[in-house]
């Protein structure tokens, strides 16, 4: 048996992403800084078990985005993404 990787799809981080950005981010697309892959955030690999939320690239496994909630602040490090593109509000 190969060990099962302990990640979920980016969908699973939808609630935390929406609370930070104020809109549904699963339909936003981004480009990985490491390998250049384009993907929807819903297609990333989400690691939710730690103190924060980490999204990794499904292509190269590089860290795309980290979110941590402290008692008073939300922290976001999206330095693994070259850009994010989201549908403009109607």
């Amino acid at each position: 048996m190969t060990p099962t990787p302990d990640f979920l799809d980016g969908n699973a981080a939808a609630g935390d992403l929406e609370s930070l950005f104020g809109t549904d981010m699963t339909m936003a697309s981004g480009q990985c800084h490491g390998c250049g892959k384009q993907m929807m955030l819903a297609e990333t690999h989400a690691y939710l078990g730690g103190p924060g939320t980490v999204l990794r690239c499904p292509g190269c496994d590089g860290v795309l985005l980290r979110m941590v909630r402290s008692p008073h602040d939300m922290w976001l490090d999206a330095s693994g993404l070259d850009h994010l593109r989201l549908p403009a509000p109607a």
Binding site: T4, P5, D6, F7, L8, D9, G10, N11, A12, A14, G15, E18, S19, D24, T26, M27, M40, A42, E43
Partner: protein, 198 residues
């Protein structure tokens, strides 16, 4: 849908669950599978009673969703309780009277562990359901117990030329296997949407 539980001492924990119901603006139906050594599911399944309050957020995320405007055929692949969000799509299709053709392959451990059994048996016009049993099958079942494979996907699903949107939900192992088989059979990765539940 995110469910947050907070203990009296302020300790708080959160899990995401799939919505099983079609949206009606009033209620949501969640299906929770109990994990014996879990932190949240034993509480939700054993201790939560009518009248208790829980904190809900959602429904969130528009990715793993079928919309009635989509006209292409739909191919649903469910492993175990991965059927839940796909059931929401089937119910949505029924609620709006859509004639979009759906095919579902439902992989369950055994007939006893199947979810939504009677609702699926009643069926819907234009929805074809195929069952794959991984541990034990009903008597005189034509296909021996075993995991989903290329022949099950070919016979129970749409050919890639029909360009269906494929929704795959289940354990990580199921999703990796099923999505890999879909790509190997010629389905475009851009038309395959996945939701792993861990």
């Amino acid at each position: 849908m995110d469910v947050r539980l907070t203990a009296e001492d302020g300790y708080s924990t959160q899990r995401s669950y799939s919505v099983a119901s079609a949206p009606d603006g009033e209620t949501v139906e969640l299906t929770v599978q109990r994990t014996d050594d879990g932190e949240v599911s034993p509480y939700l399944t054993d201790e939560l009673t009518v009248g208790d309050l829980v904190e809900l957020r959602g429904p969130v995320g528009g990715w793993f969703v079928w919309r009635p405007e989509q006209k292409e055929p739909v191919f649903l692949l469910a492993g175990g309780s991965g059927l839940v969000p796909l059931m929401a799509m089937i119910r949505m299709r029924r609620a709006v009277g859509s004639r979009t053709p759906f095919r579902l392959i439902y992989s369950a451990r055994s007939p006893e562990t199947q979810l939504f059994t009677s609702e699926l048996r009643r069926g819907d016009p234009g929805l074809d359901t195929t069952y794959v049993y991984t541990r034990s099958t009903p008597p005189q079942w034509s296909r021996p117990a075993g995991r989903i494979d290329a022949s099950a996907i070919s016979s129970g699903g749409w050919p890639p030329d029909f360009e269906p949107t494929c929704y795959v939900c289940g354990s990580t192992g199921f999703v990796e296997t099923a999505a890999g088989l879909l790509v190997a059979l010629g389905h475009h990765p851009g038309r395959i949407r996945t939701e792993r539940f861990g």
